[in-house]
Every structure is written in C-alpha cells, then in structure tokens.
C-alpha cells in the first residue's frame, strides 16, 4: 500500500506503530510479518485487483527461499552451490515469468504468429525488490558470510516488513539480523522516524507530484511540438520529479523502519552533486547498485583483471540494471547509454577531467537529465521526437509555440528553485544540526498537513518506482 495513501497515513501507520510498541518483544516479528502481509494484500488488491494472488506468490517465494537457506546449513561448499543454483533458477525464473515472459512473447509475435495474451498476468507488486533481497540472502549464506536463519517468522519479517516490501530499499539480512532478534523502539525512534517520514511525504506530494504536471503538459502538446527550451525544462523537471519521488519514498521507508527500530538502509546520497556517471550511481538507488556490485560485478572479476574484463563486467551490470527496470527497449537503451558513459569515464574522461572542479558537475548533469528522458519515454518514436526537440537541428519545426517556455517557466520556476535548492547539501546539514529544534519541527508540522491537504483534494499519483 502506498505510503502516500491517506488510509496508510491515518490507519495503518498509527495502528502498526502502537501495536508494535505494545506487544511483547517476542511477538513483534510475528506482528511485523503477518501485519505486513495484510497491508500488502490490501494494497495489491487496491492497485491491481489481485491482492490474494500477489500475497500467495510472495508467501510462496518466502517459504521456498527460507527452506533453501535451511538446506544449505551444514552442507559443504559444492552442495551449497548446487542448492544456490537451483534457488536462483527458481527465483529469477519467477521474476522472468511475471515480468518479462509476456513482453518477450509479445515482441516475438510477428515471428511466431501466436497470441499469448492469456499470459498477460498482473505483475505482483514489488517482485523485483523482494526477489533481489532474498537472492542476496541466499548468496551470502552460500558464501558462508551469513548464518542461515532458523526462524521462519524472523525471515518472513525480514522479507515482508512493510516499510521496504514494495519499493525497497533492497536490504541485506546481515544488516537487519540484530534488530530482528531484539529491538526496543523508544520514544526517540518514533519521533525521529516520523520526522523522516514527514519529509519524505512532503518531497513526494509537494514536489514530485507537482513536477509531474509539467510532464503531463508536454505529453498533451505532443513531443514534436514543444520548443527546445521547453524540452530541456521538461528533462530537468523530470529529473527532479524522479528524484523527489523515489528519494521521498526512500526517506519514508527509512523513517517507518526507524519507528519500528529497524535499520532500513539509505538509498540516496545527494546524487546530483556527483561529478561522474559512475559516481552518480553510487549515490542514486544505492541499494540496487550495491546488489549489482556485490553479486554480479565483483564475481565477474570487477576491476582486478584488466581493462577489457572490467569493461565486459560493466556492460553486463548495466544491461541487466536496465532490464531490471522493465521489459521495454528504452530501459535497455538507458542501461546501454549509462554503460557507455561509465566506460568512457574509466578509459578517458576521468583523466581528462583531472582536478577540474566545475566542468565534471556540468558534464554529469548534462548527461543525466538526458538519460532520464530515455528512462521515462518507453515508446521509441516518442523518444526520437523528444530528442529532435532537445537538438532541433533536424526535422521540421511546425506548430511550435515559441512562447511556451516562458509560459510554463513563469508558473513553475519556484518549484524548480525549491527542487534545486533541496538537491544541494545545505538543507540536509541544517536538518541534521537542528532536527529536534522548533526550526525543524514547526515547518515540518505545516508541511505534513499541507501534504495531507494536497492528498485529500487532488488526485494522488502513484510512486514511479512502484512499477518495478
């Protein structure tokens, strides 16, 4: 269930936090596991109409992965690897079946001539996230760096805990185990956790959702018919929208975790201040990047086996990262472009930039806002149209209203100003310094109710990452 649903904010959140504080600590994981399943079923029912099915799949995957973890205990390395191979086959097979199979068959329709629309199944909410989380657990167990969990309830609580189930962050069992075994949420956890939740909610509702209307306008006008300045404004606007959407969600997840005394890992670290694409992706959706680093890039050899091997490993990581986001071609292109720039940085740009201070920032922003356009537009003809407007050197420019940039900039400039300001390091430093101070909680109190006002009166938008 979306964290920005009023039912979540006013029913689920207070009920969960209260119950969690009141039940004996031995029962907390059972509450977390079962309660999260119920919230998941409700949310999936609301969003896709297939809540029970999705919950069944989640529960089945949890049981299977738990059992594989148990079976690996006390086995030798060879057997552990065999179990792991089988488990990964099942996990990724499930993911493939629900997320990619139909798209693949549909794309092959001209060749095969068969109609597979009966396979067009609703993808279970969050499957990309929880499958990755459980495979990380099994790989760690296989490597011997993690003891398999014996308690099914504790394992289930780790997988299903509602703060992170549908959109991450992708957690590691090793980071959570201590908190799962024993946690005592205190007053300060609840207070600080809720502050993070309120900030995340404001990011989502007051920034991301407001930016989204700009893109609605661009689609309405038609990508072929926007002026070049408006096309760039749209690209920057979407970059900010996506950041505040997913960063806002992640802050809410971290805050909710904190309220339950669960350490939910950080997902963002001021990414737009990076000076390279590779640096950007160490600071954007950090838990997904870390997954690919630890379980794909390093096993493939990482950077320790020469340049050619490194480049190949990077290619694998980025094509799969693209594919992880969805079965459409634009995600593959997106991953491919990121790979190209990261490879270029490694081979050449890093040395060329040397100790320059400003240019690398400009380079990063220039590249990244365009990659988000690729990320966003899944229809290739539309994508081409958008790039023709970003670079208006070819194609005809008919029906363009050259006043459009002024019109939309004059109504959105303040949103851009706030958004850009919040990408800089000072607001967070201010928050960390004054977080218990009235300078922080009075504005947050107002922002919380303003967010609720927007949610109650507008039409809420789904989180962008809930699609993955």
């Amino acid at each position: 269930m979306s964290f920005s649903d009023l039912r979540f904010i006013f029913y689920v959140l207070p009920a969960f936090v209260l119950l969690h504080a009141l039940v004996p600590s031995k029962a907390r994981n059972a509450l977390l596991f079962l309660g999260s399943l119920a919230v998941y079923a409700w949310g999936a029912e609301l969003e896709t109409g297939a809540g029970l099915e999705a919950t069944g799949i989640l529960l089945g995957a949890t049981v299977v992965n738990y059992l594989f973890g148990r079976w690996m205990a006390n086995e030798d390395r060879v057997m552990r690897r065999a179990f792991l191979a089988l488990a990964l086959f099942l996990d990724f097979g499930t993911l493939f079946f629900f997320k990619y199979l139909f798209a693949l068959l549909d794309a092959l329709k001209p060749l095969t001539g068969h109609d597979y629309s009966f396979l067009h199944i609703v993808m279970p909410l969050g499957i990309s996230f929880y499958i990755f989380q459980m495979t990380a657990y099994l790989i760690d167990v296989c490597r011997g760096t993690l003891e398999p969990e014996t308690s099914f309830v504790d394992f289930g609580a780790f997988v299903a805990a509602f703060p992170q189930l549908t959109m991450g962050p992708i957690l590691r069992y090793g980071d959570l185990r201590a908190a799962l075994k024993e946690r005592r949420p205190g007053r300060e956890d609840v207070e600080q956790g809720f502050q993070l939740f309120a900030i995340g909610l404001a990011f989502k509702v007051l920034l991301a959702d407001q930016f989204s209307y700009l893109w609605v306008v661009l689609e309405r006008i038609g990508f072929d018919y926007i002026s070049t300045p408006l096309a760039w404004l749209g690209a920057v606007g979407y970059s900010l929208q996506l950041y505040f959407d997913f960063h806002g969600y992640s802050l809410m997840a971290t805050g909710l975790g904190r309220m339950l005394a669960l350490p939910v890992a950080r997902n963002f670290d001021e990414p737009y201040l990076s000076r390279s694409v590779s640096g950007f992706y160490r600071r954007w959706h950090m838990t997904l990047g870390a997954w690919f680093r630890d379980y794909l890039y390093i096993p493939l050899g990482g950077s320790r086996h020469g340049t050619a091997r490194t480049i190949l490993s990077l290619a694998a990581v980025w094509l799969l990262t693209g594919l992880w986001h969805g079965p459409t071609l634009n995600y593959l292109i997106w991953g491919g472009v990121l790979f190209a720039f990261i490879a270029l940085e490694r081979l050449f740009l890093r040395r060329a930039f040397g100790k320059l201070r400003v240019l690398p920032h400009l380079y990063l922003l220039f590249v990244i806002v365009q990659t988000w356009v690729v990320f966003h537009i899944d229809n290739l003809a539309d994508l081409a149209a958008y790039f023709r407007r970003l670079y208006p050197f070819f194609g005809n420019a008919a029906a363009i209203n050259y006043g459009d940039f002024t019109k939309y900039f004059s109504s959105y400039w303040w949103l851009f100003a706030i958004g850009i300001l919040l990408c800089l390091p000072w607001p967070r430093r201010f928050y960390e310094r004054f977080r218990g101070n009235a300078l922080v909680w009075i504005p947050l109190f107002a922002l919380f109710w303003l967010s609720v006002h927007f949610l109650a009166t507008g039409s809420g938008n789904a989180f962008l990452y809930s699609r993955f």
Binding site: L6, F194, A198, R220, G222, A399, G436, W441, A456, T457
Partner: protein, 392 residues
C-alpha cells in the same frame, strides 16, 4: 547522549485526532456532506480539506455553518478510474447529495448572485418533437475569417488553453483554467488569475462567447444536473452580455482506449452533449458539434491526434479553428437593455419561477427537486424541462 525531544509526531497525532473527531462528530453539521462525497474508504479527516477548498475552515465552522454547498470534486485528467468507480459516480444516483446542500441555504445564496433575466431553457429529451435544436441552429450560419474573432471570448478548460496557445487566433480573448468545470466557471478567478468571469464581463463587452466545458466534471453529477448547471451559466452570460452570441461547443470525445478504461467515457459525453445541445435557442445561443473535427470512424478521438487520449496535440488546434470559421452569423440588432436585472426577486414571482431561479444560480448539482424540474429516484426526469425564467 540524549537527543532533544521532538514533538512533531505527537503534534501530528493530536491534531489528527482532533480533526478526526471534528469530522466524525460534526457538531456544526458541516462535514457530513463533505464526508459523504469522499471516495469509499477514504479517512473522514479528508473532509476537513475538501471543505477548506470551499473556504470552510475548522475554526470558522461554528460561525458560518454550511454557507457554501460543496462543489462537486472533479477528477484531474491524469487520474485513471476504473469502470466500477465510473458507474458509482456517473450512474443514475446522485452521488453528491448531502446535508450541506439544502434547498433553503441554496435559495438564500441565490439572492446574492447574478439573477438571470433571460429565458434559457434546458428541456428534457422526452418532450421534444423530434427536431433537435442542433439542426435548427445550423441554419443561418455564414463562413467568416479571423477578424470575426476580434471581439470573441473563449471560456473553458484545458482544451481552451491549448486552443489559445496553438490555434493561432491572436485577436481573440481567452478566459480559461486547467481543470475548470461548469460548476466553478463563474466563481474562480480565471481572468488573469485576479477576476472572475462575472467581474470581467461587467466591464468588457464581447460580441461572441464560445464555451468549452465538461470533461473535468464528467465523473460528477448527472447528465441532467450538468445540463441544468450549463443552462444556468449560459443564462448568467446572457444576462451579463445581452448582445453576445453564445456558442456551446460540444464536449470533445476521448480516445477509444481512454473511453473504455476511465471515467472519461464517450457514451457519457454523448449523453451530456445531447443534453446541452437543447439549451440552444437558435437566436442567441447555438450548439456546435465540434467532435466532427477530431473523431475517428468509431466516434472516438482519433488516436494519432492525441498524446493523452483527451487533448489533441498542438498542430491540430488549427482544424478546430477552421471548423469554427464556418459558423459565423449576421449579428443581431442590439437588444433592449434589460430593465432592472435585480427585479427578479423571488417574491415577485410565482413559486415555480422563483424556485427555478434559485436553482439556476445555486452551485451544488445535488439539490433536491426544485419546482419545475425534478429527478425521480431512478434518475429519470419527471417533469419537463428546466426553466430559468425571468422578469426583465
């Protein structure tokens, strides 16, 4: 080291409980109506905020109970609504009937608003003799060119915004707002963000007024309540600009996909278009079937014309403009100035006429039957027609 106490969560919890209690117990009887028109399952606390949109604040409640009945909450065009939801709100039952919109308060409020002095009739389909006003009105049109629009005003929603930006009619005047609907058109400050339309039209004269409204509120009210409100808006415009020709432009169809999957359904649109076409009188008020411009062979918006299934893309607005070029008219002689617009005080009228006048200017679509127009339990029209009758 102990961190300082942060009261945020406790303040939010306390205020949420207070507001929740306020909406549930509702001592002033204000929030019941707002709570009833929330989507099923929404926490009642949301009613506090939908009420704020009407200027009803928790602290102003005891002083001013139910001053303004709620506007129908319209759905933004980005919203995807399931078919079930659609029928729950578009169906025959009146979804927005609530305690706040009582007949008495609406009639009281009417006195303060513009009282139309022009006869505008929305008549029920059953009572027609088969010749739709559309066909009547199509006679007498003459082709015109751009200069026809020198003294033309366009009023509308995002369709008019696109038209203003891309139809290339620089000489016309446009009063528009994204998300505007027939219930809010005369109340929102759509003229440069400062004036309402009645305010602006009391100082500026136009010879032609083109209206395009109806897509945002498609999930609200019924065909009857929509047409009724439309007639009342037209009557107010006639009152404000007695010499102007008023063109009612049909609500544009949506793409087949949009129509099939969301509340923006073409059957609903067709029903409402049919209803508003009956407001035309063939003399000052005309109905234009603009769907002829953008429809495909199935009577839906041609997919290639649209990025979002609702609006046409930029280059197609000129087609709409060119279509309008066909519907000029020889302008009528200026009418006699209306004597005392305010003379339409209900006291001077028969009960039926004053009831109709009240309903013409009230803003909630869910008023219980007023004289001259009533809706039976199944939504069928019991009486013929809805008359905004006036004294002039």
């Amino acid at each position: 080291m102990k961190r300082p106490f942060s009261p945020l969560v406790w303040l939010c919890a306390a205020s949420a409980i207070a507001l929740g209690v306020l909406t549930v117990y509702d001592p002033a009887g204000v929030y019941a109506g707002y709570a009833a028109s929330l989507e099923a399952g929404t926490p009642p606390i949301a009613a506090v905020f939908t009420a704020v949109q009407d200027g009803v604040y928790p602290w102003s409640v005891p002083a001013a109970p139910a001053e303004t009945p709620p506007d129908p909450p319209y759905r933004l065009l980005t919203d995807i609504v399931t078919t079930e939801e659609m029928y729950s709100s578009v169906g025959n039952k009146e979804p927005f009937s609530d305690g706040a919109a009582e007949e008495g308060s609406a009639a009281d409020g009417a006195a303060a608003e513009v009282t139309p002095s022009v006869e505008i009739v929305y008549s029920a389909p059953e009572q027609e003799e088969g010749d739709a006003p559309v066909e009547d009105a199509s006679e007498g049109f003459i082709p015109v060119d751009e200069s026809w629009f020198d003294d033309a005003l366009f009023i509308g929603d995002s369709h008019i915004e696109g038209f203003a930006d891309y139809a290339g009619l620089r000489n016309a005047t446009f009063y528009y707002k994204r998300g505007l609907d027939i219930w809010s058109v005369m109340k929102k400050a759509v003229v440069n963000g400062k004036q309402t339309i009645p305010q602006a039209l009391s100082t500026r004269r136009f010879a032609k007024i083109y209206i395009m409204l109806g897509i945002n509120e498609i999930g609200c009210g019924t065909t009857e309540s929509y047409a009724e409100q439309y007639a009342s808006v037209v009557a107010q415009l006639r009152e404000l600009q007695p010499d102007a020709l008023i063109y009612i432009q049909s609500i544009f169809h949506t793409s087949q996909k949009k129509s099939d999957t969301t509340v923006y359904n073409n059957d609903t649109i067709n029903a409402r278009n049919e209803a508003i076409s009956r407001i035309a009188d063939g003399e000052y008020v005309f109905y234009l079937d603009c769907n002829a411009v953008f429809d495909d062979e199935n009577g839906a918006l041609t997919p290639a014309y649209s990025g979002d299934g609702v609006h046409v893309k930029a280059p197609y607005y000129t087609m709409w403009r060119d279509y309008l070029f066909q519907f000029g008219r020889v302008l009528p002689e200026p009418a006699e100035p209306p004597e005392q617009a305010e003379a339409g005080a209900p006291a001077a009228q028969s009960p039926a006429a004053s009831g109709a006048a009240a309903s013409a200017t009230e803003s909630a679509p869910a008023i219980e039957p007023v004289s001259g127009f009533s809706v039976s339990a199944d939504g069928g029209m019991e009486k013929n027609g809805f008359a905004v009758e006036k004294t002039a």
